[in-house]
Symmetry: C2
Subunit: 228 residues, 2 copies
């Protein structure tokens, strides 16, 4: 069985990617990066998802919050209740500088040590909220880099960066995951959870996933507390 490293944040997208990688027959090893996110509750979600699927799970701590510069790591306000056009207007304050580059670099290091030639990441260009490191050209550039940067790459093996969600809508992602048995109640995507870890329902991330569930005639299971 070929091994694959799957970047698992604990969110809806990466939970789906983990299910896809398993469905494709890979022996999956989940890697979660604690980068100093304010929404640490997603780390618990990552653990729950990995446990539910009984996959190996590694947590690595990289304090990007030491650098600052993002509402996801600093004490800045997370935008709420924005319209769809406001969301796509500009790169939002929730952008974490070079986050996906750092995460994929760590996955690359872990892959090389683990004997894996495949890395899965849940980036998504459709609902990407304007993050530059969620676009196909970013994935292509990283894959090229991976193959010149590593012992594995120069030894003739090919490292592949899989981004199976990249051109899916959020609704398509959810449909795919449901088909593979993903329990989205275990996931966490909110940028600004309450003190008990419950999703706010109003940040871009909550709004995007909630709308996608609605478009499929369902309610987002992590927003049940707001519907009481």
């Amino acid at each position: 069985m070929k091994k694959a490293i799957v970047l698992l944040s604990g969110g809806l997208d990466s939970a789906t990617v983990l299910a896809i990688a398993r469905h494709q027959g890979f022996e999956t090893i989940a890697l979660t990066v604690e980068y100093g996110q304010r929404h640490r509750v997603e780390l618990d979600a990552a653990r729950r998802i990995a446990d539910a699927l009984q996959v190996k799970h590694k947590l690595v701590r990289v304090p990007l919050s030491d650098f600052g510069g993002s509402a996801l790591t600093d004490n800045l306000d997370v935008p709420k209740n924005r319209t769809e056009s406001e969301m796509v207007e500009d790169i939002p304050i929730t952008y974490v500088p070079a986050r996906n580059t750092v995460m994929l670099s760590l996955a690359l290091a872990f892959a090389e040590v683990s004997g894996a030639f495949d890395i899965f990441v849940g980036v998504n260009a459709v609902d990407y909220s304007g993050y530059p490191d969620c676009r196909p050209e970013f994935i292509e550039a990283f894959e090229h880099l991976a193959n010149v940067a590593t012992k594995v790459g120069v030894s003739g093996e090919k490292i592949t960066i899989h981004a199976p969600l990249i051109s899916m809508t959020k609704a398509q992602i959810i449909e795919t995951g449901l088909g593979l048995g993903v329990d989205y109640g275990l996931t966490h995507s909110c940028y600004d959870p309450d003190s008990t870890g419950r999703a706010c329902g109003a940040c871009d991330s909550c709004q995007i996933r909630s709308a996608a569930f609605h478009s499929l005639g369902m309610d987002d299971p992590v927003l049940a507390h707001l519907r009481l």
Copy 2:
């Protein structure tokens, strides 16, 4: 004054690069990555070098040692007293998987937060000991990645990865540094220092720098204790 992030390991190469970046007129900010290296004494060297030049210095901890797979982070033997042909035969066990990719990614994150568009790194293709991530194609691939991965890059600014040592011999690096006033007695390059932090004189890294000093008619100042 344009800002630049300089990756400073505490070794001979990065100390020289810091001097070059300053000489080129950049306001330099040094970034040292503690990746779990066994030779932690180089972190002290980085601090000494930054202090001597009075540059801002940031240390970030990224436990690549959690992944294992290298003599520089694991409890594996560092090769000693190898001939020059043995050194270039194969990628050595001191290779740390994806290390330079991870370090440049962190420098990229720090640069974006700091408003810097320039990153300096002391990689060197001539005396590179077979590390894949010390070659020009690696630097080019990373620079391309940096410009598609970041808000800065997509906003039309150009991020530049400077690797001024890439085609220099170790002797040329030392000559350049001496011309710029680098005190190589402050640096540390040894892969296997003794318990007091003194260089072993026998690992590839010690041998390469010692031979280079000799070729210039000098002794390596960090090996004085072996000449007593």
